[in-house]
């Protein structure tokens, strides 16, 4: 499965894990129901819905609302607890033979640590700590809002588990690079950047908030430019892998995230519109790399060139054994040297999202 259909080496190494490709679900947008539509063994990893120690009912209804280019949710992390996860979910999810990343959350640093220790059983490949939740020891502020509270919780987690530790940051902070550095200093193996952004909408028919919880998290294409910027900032600030997560619906979105510094990507809301979104991103990244003569998808990570100039990134086709052309003015990996393929020539394969409708890619019509 490792070489893509066009021969691209799709493997990536992320936060202590070797993945067959850089594409996985965002926490909370995956469950076994997807198996009814998609071949899940193709995914780079599987990330569970966040589990908590305690049973949680979740928030009041409505839990979802549409906005232009995205959606708001306030689900409230309903959870059946640890025993249900270990007894039912884990055995089921292991069947797809894909590295399993378990998302956890707790209201205290100690709660995170004990939960991490308890779920670190055979079959769990890594832990993703969802530290965007309210910290009851800091007046309900999310751990990921500040560097200090992030460092404290990650340090406790690090001491509690030997599994690769991924830390999922929140976009709701003005100091995301500092938070990223704090997580790295405390022992995180990778950072997931980011989560949903705190948002709101109002129903003008009723004058009431659209969500039962009043405020909720924005996801979908509307979120992408903000989180892309945050991935760029974080990737420049830390040495550990950054996993991009925010509004990714296509291979073009994923490629942008990887150029900005992401080693892998998570796809969330797009799966609700198109269950095949993740496999579409895998196939599309493979084609994208082939079109740009990039042998390994991992070469995309951080391959962003400096601003300014109009030199296309991809060189003209040339015989494989031809001498290398002279390097461009900026230091660029050789596989990304200029070629004649213009961005325009790629658009049929990677169409820009049709904002504001944001439809998934067109389907093959069924035989009429």
């Amino acid at each position: 499965m490792t070489p893509g259909a066009t021969g691209t080496d799709m493997r990536v190494r992320v936060g202590g894990l070797d993945l067959a490709n850089p594409v996985m679900p965002a926490s909370g947008t995956f469950a076994e129901g997807l198996d009814r539509v998609v071949d899940l063994s193709r995914l780079g990893a599987i990330v569970t819905k966040t589990i908590t120690r305690e049973l949680r009912e979740g928030n009041a209804l409505p839990r979802v609302a549409e906005v232009r280019g995205g959606m708001l949710n306030a689900i409230g992390i309903p959870s059946k607890g640890v025993a249900h996860f270990l007894g039912t979910t884990l055995p089921l999810y292991r069947a797809w033979g894909v590295p399993l990343v378990v998302s956890i959350s707790a209201p205290t640093a100690e709660g995170f640590a004990s939960l991490a220790a308890e779920i670190g059983v055979a079959g769990v490949a890594a832990i993703e700590a969802n530290i965007s939740c309210p910290n009851i020891e800091e007046d309900g502020r999310a751990f990921a809002m500040r560097a200090g509270s992030t460092e404290a919780v990650v340090r406790r987690l690090r001491a509690a588990t030997h599994l690769p530790l991924w830390v999922k940051l929140s976009p709701n902070t003005g100091e995301i690079a500092e938070v990223a550095q704090a997580a790295e200093a405390a022992g995180a193996d990778a950072l997931v950047v980011a989560n949903t952004m705190l948002a709101m909408s109002i129903d003008l028919a009723t004058f009431r908030p659209s969500l039962g919880n009043v405020m909720g998290g924005l996801s979908g294409p509307a979120l992408k430019p903000i989180v892309l910027r945050q991935v760029y900032q974080c990737a420049r600030a830390v040495r550990v892998a950054v996993i991009g997560c925010g509004g990714i619906a296509s291979a073009a979105d994923a490629a942008e995230y990887m150029l900005a510094g992401a080693a892998a990507v998570q796809v969330g809301t797009a799966t609700f519109l198109d269950p095949h979104a993740m496999t579409g991103v895998i196939d599309g990244l493979d084609s994208f790399c082939a079109a740009h003569r990039i042998a390994r998808v991992a070469e995309l990570t951080g391959a962003l060139r400096p601003a300014g100039g109009s030199h296309p990134a991809t060189p003209a086709p040339r015989p494989a054994d031809a001498p290398q052309p002279p390097a461009p003015e900026s230091p660029t990996p050789e596989s990304l040297t200029p070629e004649s393929l213009t961005p325009e020539s790629l658009t049929p394969e990677f169409p820009a999202p049709e904002f504001p409708a944001m439809k998934p890619p067109a389907l093959e019509p069924n035989p009429a």
């Binding site: 909370g28 947008t29 995956f30 469950a31 076994e32 129901g33 997807l34 009814r36 539509v37 998609v38 071949d39 063994s41 819905k49 009912e57 979740g58 209804l61 409505p62 839990r63 979802v64 549409e66 906005v67 232009r68 280019g69 995205g70 959606m71 949710n73 689900i75 309903p78 007894g87 039912t88 055995p91 089921l92 292991r94 069947a95 797809w96 033979g97 055979a122 079959g123 979908g220 799966t271 609700f272 519109l273 198109d274 269950p275 095949h276 504001p356 409708a357 944001m358 439809k359 998934p360 067109a362 389907l363 093959e364 019509p365 069924n366 009429a368």
Partner: protein
């Protein structure tokens, strides 16, 4: 699926045909039934055309002018014909999604995902069942009459609507051999007391081995009360705002009373057809 038996190193199961398909289905006909309702018939693949009564599809509705529906819209099945390779919907234009759906031309394509969820379950031991529906809920109950007839189970359909001209599915139920009792708001025949008297007569006549209902909380509560009084089973098809349709996002939960406790169940994954006695109306 009892995957609990699989050890962590088990070989991957072979890729099985997926029971849910996503496709661009061809619009065969798309008619205005009356001022409010539209009837849509689509040519689909065999997976979609094999949908069972009570199941639903997630439709990616075209954007109507000036609006941008983002999520898919759940739509319950009005008819499926595996031999013809068709799926039918009967819908009321109520929001951005259905306004967009209404713009679909014959010959156009609709991106549909399904069939999804659990449908109605008919017990072959039943001789006669009662279907009680109101408004657009009648569309959901329509295909049940066909299935019941195929199993030799008689159906009495109590169809409730504001006015006779908005009555849906009347012809469909009759075509499938159901006895139809139409009740309306304008003449008071749809009042709960009147419907209760109707149901009591059917129960007394031995013509109600089970209740099936959709579209009205008031009628649901009435049937729950009678079901408890007479020890009868029942099933209800429920609606809820959804995002994914595949049990992943937990947006579409509703309250149910199970074993004396109130629990959340996902309408898309645990339903949309539920044990009538567990539903909290």
């Amino acid at each position: 699926m009892s995957a609990t038996a699989l050890p962590p190193t088990a070989p991957k199961p072979p890729m099985l045909p997926k029971p849910v398909s996503r496709q661009a289905a061809l619009v065969l006909t798309h008619d205005l039934v009356n001022a409010e309702y539209r009837h849509l018939v689509l040519r689909t693949d065999a997976i979609a055309a094999g949908a069972a009564p009570g199941q639903f599809f997630q439709l990616l509705c075209p954007a109507p002018p000036g609006e941008a529906p983002f999520l898919r819209r759940p739509m319950s099945l009005y008819g499926a014909d595996p031999a013809a390779g068709t799926v039918e919907f009967l819908y009321k234009v109520t929001g951005a999604g259905t306004r967009g759906l209404a713009t679909l031309p014959v010959g156009g394509r609709l991106d549909m995902l399904g069939p999804l969820g659990h449908g109605f379950v008919l017990n072959p031991a039943w001789r006669h069942v009662v279907a009680v529906g109101r408004g657009v809920g009648l569309a959901t109950l329509g295909p049940l009459a066909q299935q019941a007839r195929g199993m030799g189970i008689g159906v009495t359909a109590i169809l409730s609507a504001r006015r006779p001209e908005l009555m849906l599915s009347d012809m469909l139920f009759r075509r499938h051999g159901a006895e139809v009792l139409a009740v309306h708001d304008h003449d008071g025949t749809s009042a709960p007391g009147a419907v209760e008297a109707m149901l009591r007569r059917l129960i007394a006549a031995g013509r109600c081995d089970a209740f099936f209902t959709c579209g009205s909380a008031r009628l649901l509560r009435l049937q729950q009360r009678l079901a408890r009084e007479f020890g009868l089973p029942g099933q209800v098809a429920l609606e809820q705002q959804m995002a994914c349709g595949l049990g992943m996002c937990f947006c579409c939960v509703r309250d149910f009373e199970v074993g004396g406790r109130t629990v959340h169940k996902r309408v898309c994954w645990d339903g949309p057809v539920f044990d009538m006695l567990e539903a909290v109306a």
